[in-house]
């Protein structure tokens, strides 16, 4: 009884604030629903329940998933293929916010973080990246092939927020890294590491995909030795 009274009292105290918030949100939700019904409904269904063989249900995927898919231009999907790939962004930032509000209002789900996403510890980020991410995204974050035409994308184009959203929501075949598996600090460390990797210069000039010393050696051998052989033959034929 006491609990009920306390809960009721608390609810009454909170209620006016949440009503005001709802008023702001509901316009965004309505605008988001309109956008959804124009651009997404064909594959994700009238009530976000998904359409078999076209698109998954969006109930409970959260705003993080919407932000990742739409802000990287993966959605709206141009055509059905092995995997949606990065492309030109169709919606404006405001429209993305409205879509996020609409999806978040239907079933909740992971929320986007705010603030500086690069204040994590760099060395710890490297460790975590190699343990959790490098197997698919390559140790230099350059991506790699998966089965049946799918791939783990190159991380050099991804923004901090997109990386964070990807870890939270596990887009397509990427495993989900919830906050109990990789804490927000650990996620920021990983982002810091990946962006530092990307900003570091290539001392040799040409990175060759940062694939490592063996492919670099092969390139030197094939190209360099080939050029030298051509030079040798040229000098020989002129003499």
């Amino acid at each position: 009884m006491l609990t009920l009274v306390v809960t009721g009292g608390l609810y009454a105290a909170m209620a006016p604030g949440s009503v005001a918030e709802d008023a702001v949100d509901s316009t965004a939700v309505e605008a988001g629903q309109e956008l959804y019904e124009n651009s997404c409904i064909t594959c994700h269904g009238a009530n976000l329940e998904g359409v078999t063989d076209r698109g998954p249900s969006l109930i409970g995927v959260g705003e993080a998933s919407v932000f990742f898919q739409v802000s990287t231009g993966r959605m709206p999907l141009a055509r059905q293929e092995a995997q949606a790939s990065r492309g030109p962004v169709v919606f404006t930032d405001d429209e993305i916010d409205q879509l996020m509000a609409y999806i978040q209002a239907n079933g909740g789900g992971p929320l986007l973080p705010s603030g500086d996403l690069r204040d994590g510890e760099l060395a710890a980020g490297g460790e975590l990246f190699r343990l959790n991410c490098a197997s698919c995204h390559n140790f230099a974050g350059r991506g790699g092939a998966l089965s049946s035409g799918k791939n783990a994308p190159n991380l050099s184009e991804a923004s901090d927020l997109q990386m964070y959203a990807a870890m939270l929501s596990g887009p397509s075949n990427m495993p989900v890294f919830g906050d109990n598996q990789l804490t927000p600090e650990e996620k920021r460390s990983i982002i810091n590491y990946v962006q530092t990797l990307d900003e570091s210069a290539d001392p040799g000039g040409l990175s060759i995909g940062r694939a490592g010393p063996v492919p670099e050696g092969v390139v030197i051998w094939l190209l360099g030795m080939g050029l030298m052989l051509i030079g040798v033959f040229w000098i020989g034929s002129k003499a």
Binding site: N132, S135, G144, K150, F177, Q181, A201, A239
Partner: protein, 360 residues
């Protein structure tokens, strides 16, 4: 045996010039005599430009220009190398540092390369423009030695062997053979360390996992069923000393998506190895032992990056594609009294690639 000489013996072995004659000969004559004795003929294709001619002067200037440029670039190398941090900016490379810092190594390479290239070009120009072009021909000589030489050389070797008395001194010969054999055996000893019976002591048959051993993250923290989201993967290690450095114990703890739970077709006899929607499989590929952790959460497939073997998680990680022939061994898991994941036993079969004396 002079019949192999093509031009009938009028050259060598014509009597060689006496030492008095040699003393009066010029370098050119001596060179010609040597070539003659070697049955080598020089064919001059074109002469060098006449001394003092315009062509010669021009060629001289070109060669000298190349050598001069080689000098300039070599000195430039020295001044870049020693000048950095002195009269030039510091050479040490820093992100967003000076342009000179990022150009230091390429500049060293370019100046040294240019110096060597101009030196080479100068030498080639010298040879092509200031020297006569000649072709030398030499008679081919017969291959075999004179039979007398062959017999006497053989005799020298055999007589030498006889003088050692090896045939007579039996005890010396046999003890030497014994020493040689023992030394050969000695040389084989280092190979002993490479030959090991992996079946002994059950090393390949079991891992550190066992009943009640917790599943730990790389940083040593235990895992609760609420820690992972559906469609996630965590690499886990046994809670034993140095567990996260044991190559055979690495295990993938996978939480399936909701719709995948209904599709589970467990390996017969291993239906209860998972815990709710969690399954744990060995991370070591059964084909060649690579770490398989390219987990596709939508298709529920684990991909091995080495040879593209794929394992279907919902069907007991049985191979779905590629060279692997056996399923990834499944680790039976449960949750202990504190709510953390523990293993119920070791893997039911050896992890990793096949080997000759494994039974399953």
């Amino acid at each position: 045996m002079s019949n192999h000489r093509a031009d009938g013996g009028e050259q060598y072995p014509a009597p060689p010039p006496s030492s008095d004659e040699l003393a009066t000969m010029s370098h050119t004559e001596l060179d010609a005599l040597g070539a003659h004795m070697d049955e080598t003929e020089l064919l001059v294709l074109s002469q060098a430009p006449p001394p003092g001619s315009i062509a010669e002067k021009r060629a001289e200037r070109q060669v000298a220009l190349c050598f001069g440029l080689a000098t300039v670039f070599a000195l430039a190398f020295v001044s870049v190398f020693w000048g950095a941090g002195w009269f030039l900016p510091d050479w040490e490379y820093e992100i967003d540092g000076s342009t000179f810092g990022s150009l230091f190594t390429p500049l060293l390479g370019l100046t040294m390369g240019a110096a060597l290239a101009f030196l080479g070009i100068g030498i080639v120009l010298w040879a092509k423009k200031l020297m006569p072009h000649e072709v030398a021909t030499q008679q081919r000589h017969g291959g075999a030695s004179d039979p007398v030489d062959a017999r006497t050389a053989g005799g020298t070797i055999m007589a030498g062997l006889e003088r050692t008395g090896a045939a007579r001194h039996n005890i010396v010969r046999r003890s030497l053979l014994g020493a040689g054999g023992a030394l050969g055996l000695l040389a084989l000893m280092p190979l002993g360390g490479l030959i090991k019976n992996p079946g002994r002591g059950d090393e390949l048959m079991k891992t550190s996992w066992g009943e009640g051993i917790r599943l730990l993250r790389d940083d040593g923290t235990p895992i609760r069923p609420s820690d992972m989201q559906p469609g996630s993967l965590e690499t886990v290690f046994p809670a034993v000393e140095g567990g996260n450095r044991q190559a055979d114990a690495a295990t993938m703890l996978i939480r399936l998506r909701r719709e995948q739970v209904e599709q589970i077709e467990a390996t017969p006899g291993q239906e209860d190895f998972g815990f709710q929607d969690y399954l744990a499989f060995s991370k070591i590929c059964t084909h060649a032992g690579c770490p398989v952790s390219l987990y596709e959460q939508e298709t529920g497939r684990i991909l091995c990056p080495c040879h593209q073997s794929q394992f279907d998680v919902t069907r007991g990680a049985s191979p779905a594609f590629g060279p692997a022939a056996r399923a990834l061994p499944q680790l039976p898991i449960e949750v202990d009294g504190d709510g953390f994941f523990v293993a119920r036993s070791d893997y039911p079969e050896p992890v990793g690639p096949s080997f000759w004396n494994r039974e399953t």
